[in-house]
């Protein structure tokens, strides 16, 4: 074990390259030629949504490619901890899709696309059961069913989970399902990769269209060699995740440079709700190097409470009017809820994330923060040590290894960080298709489902529900095209190649790492959790200057596995995302969910009717307004009038169906 010179390893390893490309193949082809690989459906992204989409497209008989910036099984979904929301009713049988739908709309402050929230709530249980049938091992209830845990904003225990590593279970199960399909294809086609193949460590930098503006493929490079490649396909599904690397303090990984958002924008698609960025309330704040590392909401779901430097459980002071009726007013009532949820109201620590994040922020600002600028999250005094170890093993491990804190003995210091983007590509709820023919999107890169704020646990279920639908949508689209396949525009391919090579060919230019870090600084300081017009305007001005710097960065070295070069290409996307978020944030003059304006506090009912849409006009981001899709009467009927009144305008209230709305219980014969 002391040898330091690496061997060349097992001789045959490169024959089984994970990317499916051996080094030899490429050196022969030459790095500057563009390789062409035809497929029916190309899925960009190997997280939960991408893998679920690809499985569905392959099950529909389409030849499918899965493309991923990192290795197979490492996508960001792996980091999800708390669980996957699905109204299975295994722990509390009062739960059903209607209650889940209601919680989702409330969490998103009624800005969600109601059709998406409906499909999500209805289909999530089957998608979770499907994972079980593919080998996933969720934690169990006493009667042997999938167990479910409490989470912020969910009325009943609803999150299927595996300890605090649910994302790992999900990604491994989907990865193993892809392998199972490949094993079937090995038997039926004589080649495991005949119908579904993973191109790992491959990055797409441009979508390619045909002369009529339809999707014809995707252009990118293979990290290992720098080889350029075009995946020629009539349907592309974006499943690229979020935009976290636009911000300085974020729980997101390096992959989150907003690639899919930017690819869609550049191809002419619309981005929705980009002002809504989720700042999750509890992340490690110390040591500096792990600032932004997530502390799962399950800590609060399992009984953890937030305290300030005076030891006070301050969340009781931060329950907003719209939620007053559903949350406990005393510590005693809140504590009784854990054992008797039917007769007590929920603790305010379990309010939706935007509320808790703002409260934490306010406590720190008022000088009642923890030594390192956070607040205290206490589970140690609430549960026995062995219970904490059983329920939250990775949290225990994380604090012990990285901060020398034993969470069974002392409170954690936590603070907010960027965590998720609600905004994304506007898609048809049923098929995932965008306004660009042949372009589909699912998962965090798509928009609408979560409105202005996502509930914890609703992303993993979103990935499964809409991943499957996008896979199906793309397969059907390809089926409808028949033989009339789009042909990739050669000019677009050449332009993409030139664009990608430019930073390598610039003799001198700025260091991309420096520019990236300045963009993050600007966004975190000026368009972060609390926003004002003056600061956003300053950010937009700074982004202009940064944009000029970003377009002149250079990468030293060659094109084979060169992270500096990769970052120069990611910067284009990061810049676009920063501008979209800032421009939309300036436009929306109210505070709602993941968008808080100090100069426009409070929700304004007239703004609830408005979605902000970003499009690209030349190099400029354009913001336009379009109406939020209306809710069907049968869905509106799931809410009390008194509650609707808090969100809707007087006009909208007057137009509601006259009859008093049916209660969820009365409508529950519809539930399955």
């Amino acid at each position: 074990m002391t040898d330091i010179a690496p061997s060349t390893g097992p001789a045959s390893a490169s024959e089984h390259s994970a990317a499916g490309h051996s080094a030899a193949e490429h050196s022969a082809a030459g790095h500057r030629e563009v390789e062409r690989i035809p497929y029916d459906v190309v899925v960009i992204g190997a997280g939960g949504s991408g893998l679920r989409a690809a499985i569905e497209a392959r099950l529909a008989g389409k030849r499918t490619a899965i493309i991923s910036k990192s290795l197979f099984g490492k996508a960001h979904t792996v980091m999800a901890e708390g669980g996957c929301a699905a109204a299975m009713g295994n722990v509390n049988s009062n739960d059903n899709w209607m209650v889940h739908f209601r919680d989702t709309m409330r969490g998103g402050k009624f800005l969600n696309n109601p059709r998406m929230a409906e499909l999500h709530a209805k289909e999530a249980p089957d998608r979770v059961y499907e994972l079980e049938a593919w080998g996933a091992l969720f934690d169990r209830t006493k009667d042997g069913k999938i167990s479910q845990r409490n989470f912020g904003g969910h009325e009943y225990p609803r999150l299927a989970h595996v300890g605090d590593r649910t994302g790992l279970e999900m990604i491994r199960t989907l990865q193993q399902k892809v392998v199972a399909l490949q094993q079937e294809d090995a038997v039926s086609h004589g080649d495991p990769e005949a119908m579904i193949k993973v191109y790992a460590e491959t990055t797409i930098t441009r979508l390619i269209k045909d002369g009529e503006g339809r999707i014809a493929g995707a252009f990118g490079y293979i990290r290992e060699t720098g080889q350029f490649v075009v995946f020629e396909a009539p349907a592309v599904i974006l499943a690229t995740g979020g935009i976290g690397k636009t911000f300085k303090v974020s729980s997101n990984s390096w992959e989150y440079t907003g690639d899919g958002h930017a690819l869609a924008l550049l191809a002419g698609a619309k981005l929705l709700n980009m002002e809504f960025v989720q700042f999750h309330p509890t992340h490690m704040v110390w040591p500096m190097s792990v600032r932004g590392l997530l502390v799962t909401e399950s800590v609060r779901g399992d009984g953890g409470v937030l305290r300030n430097s005076e030891g006070k459980r301050y969340m009781f002071n931060y329950v907003p009017d719209v939620f007053r009726a559903q949350y406990a007013e005393t510590e005693e009532e809140a504590d009784r809820w854990y054992s008797d949820p039917d007769h007590n109201r929920r603790p305010p620590e379990l309010l939706p994330r935007d509320e808790v994040a703002r409260a934490n922020n306010a406590e720190v600002k008022a000088g009642r923060g923890s030594p390192h600028g956070g607040v205290f999250l206490d589970i140690a005094s609430r549960l026995p040590a062995e219970e904490i170890l059983r329920r939250l093993p990775s949290m225990h491990h994380q604090f012990k290894e990285l901060a020398d804190v034993d969470i069974t003995k002392e409170p954690m210091e936590v603070g907010p960080a960027q965590h998720y983007v609600m905004g994304g590509v506007e898609v048809d709820p049923d098929t995932g298709e965008s306004c660009v023919p042949g372009l589909f999107a699912a998962g965090e890169v798509s928009g609408g489902m979560h409105g202005s704020n996502r509930l914890g646990g609703n992303s993993l279920s979103d990935l499964l529900v809409f991943g499957r639908r996008a896979g199906l949508g793309a397969a059907e689209y390809v089926g409808r095209l028949g033989a009339k396949l789009p042909v990739a525009d050669e000019g677009e391919i050449e332009a993409a190649r030139t664009e990608a090579l430019a930073p390598l060919q610039r003799p001198d230019g700025e260091n991309p790492y420096a520019v990236h870090s300045d963009v993050q600084e600007t966004m975190s300081n000026l368009v972060g959790i609390i926003r004002t017009e003056t600061e956003i305007k300053k950010a937009l001005a700074d982004l202009e200057t940064l944009g000029v710097r970003a377009s002149a960065v250079a990468a030293a070295g060659g094109s084979a596995y060169n992270p500096g070069w990769h970052l120069t290409l990611d910067l284009r996307n990061i810049m676009l995302m920063a501008k979209c978020v800032a421009a939309a944030a300036l436009e929306r003059q109210e505070s709602r969910g993941g968008h808080t304006r100090d100069d426009y506090p409070g929700m304004r009912p007239e703004w609830r009717k408005v979605n902000l849409v970003c499009t690209l006009d030349g190099d400029e981001i354009r913001i336009s307004r379009q109406p939020v899709p209306p809710m069907r009467d049968d869905l509106i009927a799931l809410f009390d009038r008194a509650e609707l009144k808090k969100y809707l305008t007087d006009e909208e209230m007057a137009a509601l169906p006259a009859e008093a709305p049916a209660s969820v219980a009365a409508a529950s014969e519809e539930a399955h």
């Binding site: 330091i4 045959s12 089984h16 290992e224």
Partner: protein
């Protein structure tokens, strides 16, 4: 609080390369990956490193730090003295692609040979009933983040590249054990564990367990019980009789999945 650490980092590709010396700033609380990132951002923009989560959850940042296989994102700088030279090299068992990045495709190929989860097809969606106590054994193995540190460490392949066809390595023998212990699985992988995946090569040295960042007891909880199950099957008189009488095939075990890629 901050100091400059002396780093010797392996730079090169496809078998050629050398250790390069750098002095890099270190701040309180940092891990090795932070320091490598600073090196990348300030002195060596093209330094190839694999990483994703920086939270010990994805298993991407495996490398050898002073000869010990570790995750760079979970190795705190405070475990070294300020004047200690840190030698950072790629995983030794796998071919180098560039700098600290290795070709781990061997592992994906092995994964594809193991017959997948095979439930009873008559169980409908949502109808599985399993007790927590029964799923816990396989759950432990499913904590695996596929960092391949165990694969890199096991002497059966680390020191003998020639064994790599006949031996799947601890991670994938553990995958076989996981499926065998899955309460809803119906296949029988005991024969292939021995015959195709090389369970017999393992002489229970526990080196794999020692390096596992997830603290999975690979040897005690997966490999030894799997050996016992295989032995149990081989001495099972019915199976033995079946193979003697030759009225049915010698083994009714599930066969390995062929890798018939061209």
């Amino acid at each position: 609080m901050s100091y400059k650490a002396a780093l010797r980092v392996w730079r090169g590709d496809h078998g050629r390369g050398d250790l390069a010396d750098y002095a890099v700033e270190v701040n309180e609380g940092e891990v090795v990956l932070d320091v490598l990132h600073r090196l990348q951002a300030t002195q060596a923009g093209d330094l190839a490193i694999r990483w994703n989560c920086k939270a010990g959850k994805c298993g991407s940042c495996s490398m050898e730090i002073n000869g010990r296989p570790r995750l760079a994102c979970m190795t705190r700088m405070s475990t070294f003295t300020e004047d200690e030279v840190l030698t950072i090299t790629p995983l030794r068992t796998f071919p180098v692609i560039r700098d600290l990045v290795t070709d781990v495709s061997f592992n994906y190929a092995k994964a594809r040979q193991i017959p997948s989860f095979t439930p009873d097809p008559s169980v409908g969606l949502g109808e599985f009933r399993m007790q927590q106590a029964d799923v816990e054994r396989s759950q432990e193995f499913r904590k695996c983040i596929e960092c391949y540190l165990c694969q890199n460490t096991c002497h059966v392949i680390r020191d003998h590249a020639e064994n790599e066809n006949a031996f799947a390595g601890p991670r994938f023998l553990m995958r076989v054990a996981e499926l065998e212990m899955h309460p809803a699985d119906t296949a029988d992988r005991r024969d292939i564990a021995q015959d195709d995946f090389g369970l017999g090569f393992c002489n229970i040295t526990k080196c794999c367990t020692e390096v596992c960042p997830e603290h999975i007891k690979i040897t005690d909880n997966a490999l030894i019980p799997l050996k016992e199950r295989v032995a149990g099957r081989r001495y099972d008189p019915l199976v033995w009789l079946g193979s003697k009488i030759a009225r049915r095939p010698r083994s009714t075990g599930t066969p390995k999945v062929p890798d018939n890629r061209h």
